[in-house]
Symmetry: C2
Subunit: 136 residues, 2 copies
């Protein structure tokens, strides 16, 4: 097995990223047309390399401890339009086209469907498709 | 000194947040007019409570291990327009008005000023104000 340095030797853009102690960086996924923030997830070196190569969102699932090709179960994949890196080299913004218009496992467009209003997190976005019809 | 539970007893919206093992959650800060993602930072219970009370961005600086009122040095504060919480209760999106139009310590509008292009992170956004004129 190659060392991380050898594996990444052809990808200086990946080598420049400052992975955290778990080898991860946060990724903010944003609809490339509306600008809406859809999800916040995590990437490791392999996931980001695959995402760039495949042109679609591939994340590292911390809860399942494995690569997660967004849409592999739901069909709601994300086609990458642009990748940006922040000033500290440790956060990615991924501009994407959201297939099916649903990014959240609750069947909503975005995971950020609750707004703080009068001391409560109030749901302000509708469910587009029932999750039980998405994950069959 | 009160325990966290006692401190939060009047703020169920704060109590519902799932802080990580360090007592933090990520916060994505977005320009409320353009939708541009400006920064990715961190909040603890106290920072988020103060941000909500004061109506302006207050973060937890991991590198300095203290509260960080955005703009206290640069003058580029952020006026909160909306707070959103994600489906897992562990990420915040903060819609803000960016005073001075500069969120990044490099003097740019956004921290995400580099785009992956032909295997390189290329700077695509101009410096609006020289940092040495910001941090005097």
């Amino acid at each position: 097995m190659k060392s991380a340095t050898e594996t990444d030797s052809q990808t200086p853009w990946l080598d420049s990223i400052k992975w955290n102690e778990d080898g991860l960086v946060p990724v903010i996924t944003q609809d490339y047309l509306s600008g809406r923030v859809l999800t916040h997830a995590w990437l490791n070196n392999e996931a980001l390399g695959l995402a760039q190569t495949e042109g679609r969102a591939v994340y590292w699932s911390r809860s399942r401890a494995k690569l997660w090709r967004k849409g592999e179960e739901s069909g709601h994949g994300q086609v990458i339009k642009e990748l940006r890196l922040d000033c500290d080299n440790d956060v990615i913004v991924m501009q994407i086209e959201q297939l099916g218009g649903i990014a959240c496992h609750t069947g909503r467009e975005s995971c950020f469907y609750r707004v703080l209003d009068s001391g409560e997190w109030k749901i302000v976005d509708a469910v587009i498709k029932d999750p039980k019809d998405i994950y069959q």
